[in-house]
């Protein structure tokens, strides 16, 4: 415990592990109270996933990771961007419409569509940013309302541009041309399905997130504003501009969330496109403590739970919604544990400093005595 680095690592790993145990215990209690088969549930949840399911875990995590990073950018600034959910749907829809037109060939179509998604997501977020900066509207309120508006707007537009295939009751945007569909990588041996090619997008975003936040002036300003706005103002940071930029950045990153799904799986934006990713991202950013590596683990854990829960009803006779209870408890426990370890960390730090000061004092005293 004397080495501050070791202590920090132990504390930051200890909290989530503790949270997992708490979640395990509390969920078991819930199951017991309801008379559900506790053993079967955990056998299903903890069974070794098949290669096919490992692919699904990784794929799910890629999407969740992008969502959590988008949220984390805001968190670092003390901005609660609840609007990632709306921003990613606006972004995905815009990109799907653009890519479906096939104005550009193959990969170029994908790259430009990704930019379209970022611009659309960023523009959508800029409404909340503008309201915050110019009118002092809390971004929590405005982004929640913008989510609802995004739902209405996107479905209205979807009905305008939708193509319906014969015999189908689903609607969607025009399917993107085959040359722009990404087949994915065979990363998991023995799996029939493939990992999204846009895993690479998540890696790049993760790296840039780390680099920009910890190695650039902008990142420093952003973190400074997040830690103490007054101090940031005193050191010459233009807070309004920072709010504007980081909110738009968060929205632009949110625009990326749907890209692996669009190019690697659904090939169009329609009624069956995955919803609710923005909210999952908030939990994962919290769990991963806004750290690029922490978020990656948190996203994998989340996706693992989602995937394993799929078989609950078939194999254990318990509704898969149970996974919400597990995830919810993990979040609760982890937030409490983080706060606990933060305080413990401060106390240990104080003790260490006090000890060193005391040691110095005694050293000086003995020196004085000798002299």
């Amino acid at each position: 415990m004397s080495n501050p680095l070791v202590r920090k690592l132990m504390l930051s790993l200890g909290a989530p592990i503790l949270a997992l145990f708490v979640a395990f215990a509390l969920t078991s209690l819930v199951l017991m109270a309801l008379g559900d088969p506790v053993r079967d549930v955990w056998i299903t949840m903890l069974s070794t996933p098949k290669p096919r399911m490992i692919t699904n875990v990784v794929n799910g995590a890629i999407v969740l990771y992008l969502s959590a990073i988008a949220v984390a950018v805001g968190f670092k600034m003390n901005l609660f961007n609840i609007g990632v959910d709306g921003q990613y749907r606006v972004g995905s829809f815009a990109a799907a419409v653009f890519a479906g037109q096939a104005w550009l060939p193959g990969i170029l179509n994908i790259l430009v569509a990704i930019i379209v998604a970022m611009v659309a997501g960023g523009l959508w977020a800029s409404i909340a940013a503008y309201l915050k900066v110019q009118r002092g509207v809390s971004e929590v309120i405005s982004t929640i309302m913008l989510n609802a508006i995004a739902t209405g707007l996107v479905s209205w537009l979807l009905l305008k541009v939708a193509v319906r295939t014969a015999g189908s009751n689903a609607i969607g945007t025009k399917v993107i041309p085959e040359s722009s569909q990404l087949e994915g990588w065979k990363l998991i041996p023995g799996a029939s399905n493939r990992v999204y090619s846009l895993l690479i997008l998540a890696v790049i975003v993760g790296f840039l997130y780390w680099f920009v936040l910890s190695k650039t002036r902008f990142g420093f300003d952003l973190r400074a504003t997040g830690s103490s706005e007054t101090a940031a103002v005193a050191s010459g940071v233009k807070v309004k501009r920072m709010v504007m930029t980081s909110m738009i950045l968060s929205g632009a990153l949110a625009g990326l969330v749907g890209m692996p799904l669009l190019f690697g799986q659904d090939h169009s934006y329609g009624t069956t496109f995955q919803a609710g990713l923005g909210f999952a991202g908030i939990g994962i950013a919290l769990l991963g403590r806004n750290h690029p590596v922490g978020i990656a683990f948190a996203a994998l854990l989340w996706s693992y739970l989602d995937t394993q829960a799929n078989g609950l009803q078939i194999r254990a006779g318990v509704a898969p919604e149970l996974v919400y209870i597990i995830q919810g408890i993990i979040l609760f426990a982890v937030v409490i544990a983080y706060e606990g370890t933060r305080r413990l960390d401060i106390r240990l730090e104080q003790q260490r400093v006090a000890r060193e000061l005391a040691a110095q004092r005694t050293a000086r005293q003995t020196e004085g005595a000798v002299a």
Binding site: T151, Q265, Q274, G317, A319, P320
Partner: protein, 361 residues
């Protein structure tokens, strides 16, 4: 996984014997998170006696919507009781992606289910894919007849919802005293627009000047409109207050709210999918004028009857008025004989092709 392997192994062994005579099976019905469970010991020690094992994959909502999903479950349960087949069901969670739907079907395949029924059009692509990967397993999908789900081992079960809706639309117009009726759709998707289109056409066939309020509870991808009685109640309340005296809902579980609103406003409501004068909460059953029957139960039962006989059921089967796949209910005798006679007249005209019911607005 050992359980699944053991089960499928024993199933295969029995399939080889060509067993079809069974009385008792070790079965499971996993409801909405309640206590039943497939216990490992029973599946392995006493092997199932029918070679047909049915897995039903629901979309969001599952059992308990008193409507669409329950109708599918009823068809399966009836087949289970009659043929002694083993059944299970699994429900989707809100906001899942394509991979999760595929995974659910794959889990059922892994667990040794021989006939897998996907309830709802959201499964179209996943049924198509998983069916191709597992040519020995039989699939059925309800509400989709697109190329996405087509296959040599896929039965596509679809309905002429507009035809049944035409009849209840006519019933509403014939019964309405105010000349003002309403329609509450669950989610604004083409499938539900089919209901509205038929309802409008039926009402206008009776009274071209009739006023029809129409609303959808949610817009996709928000599918909560199929399971939110509070939203259904608010929407219907608005219509009754505005002067409508009959409201037809095609909103799955949200319809319960429409019935509550009808009761409070002393108006009529029209149920959907199941005969809701029998399935709705007892207190509101007397406000249900009629229900548009979409006989998902019949479709599921027919499919399973074929499966038990070993017939190949692949291909698109359309359940329309002609084959009695859609219709209206008369439970509770709320409609006069005169109205029913007129409805039968319309029905005959639709069956003969004299009236063509539109399926889009």
């Amino acid at each position: 996984m050992k359980v699944a392997v053991a089960v499928s192994a024993s199933t295969l062994a029995l399939a080889a014997c060509g067993s079809g005579t069974s009385k008792e099976t070790s079965t499971t019905t996993a409801g909405s998170g309640t206590t039943s469970s497939t216990s490992a010991s029973s599946s392995t020690s006493e092997a199932p006696k029918s070679d047909v094992k049915v897995g039903l994959a629901f979309d969001v909502g599952g059992r308990g919507d008193q409507s669409f999903n329950d109708a599918a479950a009823a068809g399966m349960d009836k087949a289970k009781a009659e043929f002694g087949i083993e059944t299970t069901d699994a429900t989707a969670v809100n906001g899942e992606n394509e991979a999760a739907r595929e995974e659910r079907l794959n889990q059922l395949v892994d667990a040794g289910y021989t006939n897998i029924i996907a309830v709802g059009f959201a499964y179209a692509a996943s049924v198509g894919k998983v069916a191709k990967e597992n040519p020995d397993v039989h699939f059925a999908i309800i509400d989709d007849a697109s190329d996405a789900s087509k296959g040599d081992n896929v039965a596509q079960l679809t309905f002429a919802e507009q035809e049944g809706s035409f009849l209840v639309g006519a019933a509403a117009a014939l019964t309405s005293k105010t000349g003002h009726i309403g329609f509450v759709g669950g989610v604004n998707v083409p499938l539900i627009v089919k209901f509205e289109a038929g309802y409008d056409a039926g009402a206008k066939a009776v009274n071209p000047d009739i006023k029809i309020d129409s609303t959808y509870l949610t817009q996709p991808p928000d599918f909560s409109g199929f399971g939110d009685p509070a939203k259904g109640k608010t929407a219907a309340e608005g219509m009754y207050q505005g002067g409508a005296d009959i409201v037809y809902h095609a909103a799955g579980g949200s319809g319960a709210g429409v019935f509550t609103a009808a009761k409070a406003a002393k108006g009529w409501a029209i149920g959907v999918d199941s005969d809701q004068a029998k399935t709705a909460e007892e207190g509101v059953r007397d406000v249900i004028l009629t229900s548009m029957l979409k006989k998902v139960d019949v479709a599921v039962y027919d499919y399973l009857a074929k499966a038990v006989k070993g017939e190949n059921a692949a291909g698109n089967v359309i359940y329309d008025l002609k084959v009695d796949g859609v219709g209206y209910s008369t439970t509770g005798d709320k409609m006069s004989a005169d109205v029913i006679a007129k409805l039968e007249d319309y029905k005959a005209k639709i069956v003969s092709g004299e009236i063509k019911v539109p399926d889009t607005k």
